[in-house]
Assembly symmetry: C2
Homo-oligomer: 744 residues x 2
């Protein structure tokens, strides 16, 4: 930092100029003054790290400013004082005086302020550290795992989000955070029964909280503990589990080498080979061609020393399908091991703090003990065996380890949306648009409410739903031999819905903040570009929706097959009843949860039934199953969405009464807004099927508009209840104070 | 570039390794070999600039590789050859042989290839430079200004898009492009009657083409010629026009200092003051407070030497409202002039090649001659006069200069969408998904078609519509004293619609390309983050939509007022006829353009009429106009969209038959898809109003699906017809060749 004065001439920093001047005015900075400056800085959560460094450089006791530097500092202060508005001057003086505390320094601060005409007509109040109000709503939102969440938040409060950094710097910061976080012990939650006595849901709740912070860190955490450690935990056995404590502590960094560039979403088709050599009892890993290159692997570009590599296992003449093998890829100091080639996936739209990379293996040999052998092993006699006879089921059981990733990633995407909405709501609540009377706040505009509030309500329903999904997931995984297929479909459908809605919400926040939402300092750009890929990674949303949709169709077919004609009739009767339900619904209040849930249930059932009928017709016409499903692909995808919308609504409804007296009404209105917005989104479909008549459709639109007006005054309370640490909001606009406007 | 061998180990570059090896194999590189390498490099449009630099470093005659470096190069080649698939090897060898041409070098190349086993089973064909097919569709799309467009494209073909650069580097490159482009003389088009004999539409068409390239350059062009030069041209007089030639040549760089941080969209409320001093006949510019800081000003952070500053003009005791004044802000070598303070707006989500900045003025004085005085002047006696008596009309006349910006920015946003769609369609057409038969292309999937094709069709309708709007704009501006209000409303509504749809389209392209669409090398991330702010700058879309909606309401009121009861009756009759039209429409084919246009017209008329009625009710209840309009704000905004959708559809319909025999059918189907997709988007509304019955609504959905299947095979032809230079597509995935897959 060559020129400290020039560096201070930054909108975020100018406010500190007088206090630095005062602190150094006797050409000596004592420890107490230094502490006061640091405290003042800590009270400004929007300061970016680079700006903090500027201040730190100024208060370095080893670098007292020379007379020339002090004179230039004084010129800067004069300049700011003369060109600033009275309000800005007041805030300027307030900070200076707050730091000066008392004694000589305060006298100096007052004298300086007086000199500059900075106190004129403005009161001086001490800066108040913002205490996040923990309301009944907060408690309800946190649900189980409040303690784990609190620990995650406390850590997040120390990690100031960075932006606009060169890739290397961003990666370095994120790596540092990962080690910091590991030092808190939170990583141990990832491995129930080995390093933790909690179930998996605690780790997932912690992960959800991290979604409020820098998403590059979130992904690094997901890779290290969720995927790398998670695969060892779920697919390995005791001899592998020994390393989990080191993995939790980040003493061993690994990556999860599944995807290949030629086979994005089709894991069964991966080409990397792991060939068993009976002579040495080794597995030889090999990348047979460029399309088999491991791609997008988080950690592979730089940090990972180990990899769980997914490869086609060959024993003798037989191919046994995809298996996971633990492979060292780098020396402790980061050099690639012999036969391993690594590469960098390159610059990305976002998440540049994650070192996504590529891996190629050239006849790399590891002991057979490195095969993660919970579901398959190679005996001393060199024969392959597995407790799961069917290769298909074995494959899906192994892939079942991915479910946790989907649960966690879906929930964390919604956290990112909450962070963006919190920034936008706080700004909308504080900033006045200079309209007719010059008094109206942004949040008072109907279009602004329409932009933000349905998304806000949706994030709450989704948060509650992921709480339930997390519980189911932990329970299933704690049950040996449990069938994971239903859970897999639920996780797929919810991840697809949540990540799609999360992007819409962050996008809405960006637009609601106008040009300010485009400035990186206001954090929304980073959230937006980071969250973008959540629709693609951990399973592309379209692929996941097809998976879920097909599962729903399968369950329906099974239900018909086992139930015979009676089941068919019951299904038909159910539909008729639903339709009749509407006719009655003309008199049912739109805000009735029963009405909303019935409509969402009708949509799901109707889509499943009509889709099954369309597929059957095509099969009857001689198409094969694959082709028949392809022709109705959009319909299958819609089933997944309808399923996720119905089930999350039901899970929300089951928990809403737990909110307690104080917040029950608010929670109910948020639920109404979220669920009616879902119905409004599908209004054309409901009208076409006859489930809504025109009056009902209009009524829903009007009700949404009414709810927007009712909820707008509570929006700030709701985002405060999220309890997101200031360091995560980290945007000047989130701390905009109309009485003392500081423009970022 | 310390280690040239390591630098070559990059997926984009490995293919060049053998030819570099061959070229240097006799430890001497002659000029001809060098040329061949350069030519091979030029034939790979997807190479990023940094990669080009690596190659250039290798063929620098002053830096022959040592024996050690050559040996390592050979190791790299061996490695690539052994780990690549046969297909990749073939493409590798093909390039090597193509460059070696003949003689000794070819012998060496063949020997090397043979050594590496690279020719096995693959034919060698010379690389063919891709000639963009200029079809009838291209001609129809280009319309007028084909020659100007061709010039812009030829220039664009030389400007390789950059990504992931540090801000300073990106700005430097963009600045270089701006000077390059100025050297072609295209900037002269901006000032009809002064530096050009064309009308304004030619400049706007040129600008539209630039929208296919780096959008930071587009914005710099918009600032320099459209806003800075444009303001001088439109608001100044002969004495100011003298500098336009220098501005066109970029010998004088300027900025357009209108926005203030406290008053984003409310120009009338800006606070900067320009006070006339009769003693010296100077204007004194002053920034009275921080909220008056000029913000977001493109060019203000670094490049601009001059600014057109918008300020409240004070003459004596009178305030005459916002006026534009030419103010020097920096010395030729870039130092801020006395009293001018400049700042940087900071890192942004995108467009970081644009040096957006801040300006503060501290009693800065300029001669009164610097007032842009076409619409207002200060006489020798110090009195203010204007040819436009009404201050309001004067203000709106001056702001009329912004219309051109909106026309151009709206059209260019659609260009960015076309570039992104071209990349996504080319990839979808070439890339096979490894599904059931392992043969299906991405474009064959219904969900993929649904993602991309409606957007593709929409960009075509919008392109044609902007051609018409551009024509109207040029005509209006060539007519002295023409009323610009209607044009202003049209431009506002179209800019809002186009920029919103453009973002949706780029977003769809991102999603359709999955993880590849998230890699910066594939260009879509930059297009996405750059285009994001097009909804906010040159007028926030919500504000513009309100402006347009209010204008439509005003026109309706006027029509009723002047027409009396008969007009009211006629309006009612029209609506009844529209509704009756639907009942008849049951038998009308959905692909009938008349049906589609009538529906869009009904939507616009109905929204205007019902909105007017809702406002009247509120006025009758005693609300003031502002409050009444605020309560129905969403309705007003919807009017703007409906107006834009109807008018662009009509303008498209008027021009579609000009497509010529060869492409008429394709154009008609694209029009169907675009217009029916609009109707599908509003299906709930049409059902609620009774304009559609359920059968019609379903029919439209089915028709859209049919059109998707029909148009999918033509998607590649359509994007090729855009004639976007390869250098703009610049994405490896856009040049993906399934026969020779090179993964980025």
């Amino acid at each position: 930092m060559a020129d400290r004065v020039a560096a201070l001439d930054d909108p975020q920093l100018r406010v500190f100029a007088p206090l630095i001047y005062v602190a150094w005015s006797d050409f000596d900075l004592d420890a107490e003054e230094r502490e006061r400056v640091l405290a003042a800085m800590a009270a400004q959560p929007w300061l970016r790290p680079a700006a903090r460094q500027v201040i730190e450089a100024w208060i370095d006791p080893a670098r007292p400013p020379g007379a020339g530097e002090l004179a230039r500092l004084r010129t800067l202060i004069d300049h700011v004082a003369t060109t600033s508005s009275d309000r800005a001057k007041a805030s300027f003086a307030r900070v200076a005086r707050g730091i000066a505390a008392d004694g000589d320094a305060r006298v100096a601060a007052d004298a300086l302020a007086q000199d500059l005409g900075m106190f004129a007509g403005s009161e001086i109040t001490a800066p108040v550290a913002r205490a996040i109000p923990r309301t009944a709503l907060s408690g309800w939102l946190d649900g189980d795992h409040a303690e784990v969440r609190a620990r995650a938040r406390a850590w997040l409060a120390t990690a100031h989000v960075a932006y606009g950094l060169p890739v290397e710097d961003h990666r370095t910061i994120v790596r540092g955070w990962l080690f910091d976080l590991a030092a808190t012990g939170l990583g141990r939650l990832a491995f129930p029964g080995v390093t933790s006595t909690d179930d998996l849901a605690a780790f997932s709740a912690m992960f959800e909280e991290l979604g409020h912070g820098d998403l590059s860190l979130l992904v690094k955490v997901g890779v290290q503990w969720g995927l790398y450690g998670g695969a060892i935990w779920a697919l390995g056995t005791a001899r592998h589990h020994e390393r989990l404590a080191k993995i939790a502590a980040c003493e061993e960094l690994g990556c999860f080498a599944m995807s290949e560039v030629g086979h994005g979403s089709n894991v069964a088709a991966i080409e990397t080979i792991a060939r068993f050599d009976p002579a040495t009892r080794e597995l030889e890993l090999h990348t047979p061609g460029e399309s088999a290159r491991k791609e997008w692997i988080g950690g592979a570009a730089h940090d990972a020393r180990w990899a769980v590599v997914f490869a086609q296992l060959e024993v003798g003449d037989a191919r046994h399908g995809v298996h996971a093998i633990l492979v060292p890829i780098r020396t402790p100091d980061g050099a690639a091991l012999a036969g391993v080639r690594t590469g960098d996936s390159g610059h990305k739209m976002g998440l540049n703090g994650v070192d996504n990379g590529r891996l190629w293996f050239e006849h790399v040999r590891v002991p057979v003990a490195n095969l993660l052998d919970r579901f398959a092993s190679i005996g001393d006699d060199g024969t392959y065996s597995s407790p799961i006879a069917s290769p298909d089921r074995r494959f899906f059981t192994m892939l079942g380890t991915l479910i946790g990733g989907r649960v966690s990633v879906g929930a964390a995407a919604v956290s990112a949306a909450r962070a963006a909405l919190a920034i936008a709501v706080r700004y909308a609540e504080a900033r006045h648009q200079f309209g007719g009377e010059g008094e109206r706040k942004l949040i008072d505009y109907p279009t602004h409410q329409r932009r933000l509030l349905p998304h806000l309500a949706e994030t709450i329903v989704l948060r509650v739903a992921f709480g339930e999904l997390r519980r189911r997931h932990a329970q299933t995984f704690a049950t040996p031999g449990a069938d994971t297929r239903e859970l897999e479909a639920e996780a797929a459908a919810l991840k697809a819905l949540a990540s799609t809605r999360a992007i819409e919400a962050v996008q809405a926040a960006r637009e609601a903040c106008g040009g300010q939402g485009y400035l990186s300092v206001n954090r929304i750009p980073q959230l937006r570009t980071d969250v973008e890929i959540f629709t693609t990674f951990e399973g592309d949303n379209i692929v996941l929706a097809q998976l879920a949709g097909k599962a729903m169709l399968g369950a329906y077919r099974k239900q018909l097959a086992t139930g015979g004609n009676r089941a068919v009739l019951r299904a038909a009767a159910k539909r008729v009843a639903s339709v009749l339900g509407v006719r009655r619904a003309g008199t049912e209040p739109t805000r009735d949860r029963g009405f909303q849930l019935a409509a969402l249930r009708f949509r799901e059932d109707h889509l499943v039934e009509t889709c099954a009928a369309r597929i059957k017709k095509r099969l009857d016409d001689g198409l094969d199953g694959e082709a028949a499903i392809l022709e109705v692909q959009e319909h299958v995808v819609a089933i997944s969405e309808a399923f996720a919308e119905r089930s999350t609504a039901e899970w929300f409804a089951a928990r809403e009464s737990a909110g307690g007296e104080a917040s029950r009404e608010l929670i109910a209105r948020l639920g109404d807004l979220a669920l009616l917005s879902r119905l409004e989104r599908h209004a054309a479909w409901f009208l076409e099927t006859g489930y809504f008549d025109v009056a009902r459709s209009r009524q829903i639109r009007r009700e949404v508009e009414k709810l927007l007006r009712e909820l707008a005054p509570h929006a700030r309370d709701v985002v405060d209840a999220f309890g997101i640490p200031d360091a995560c909001l980290a945007a000047p606009i989130a701390f905009f104070d109309p009485a003392h406007p500081v423009y970022p």
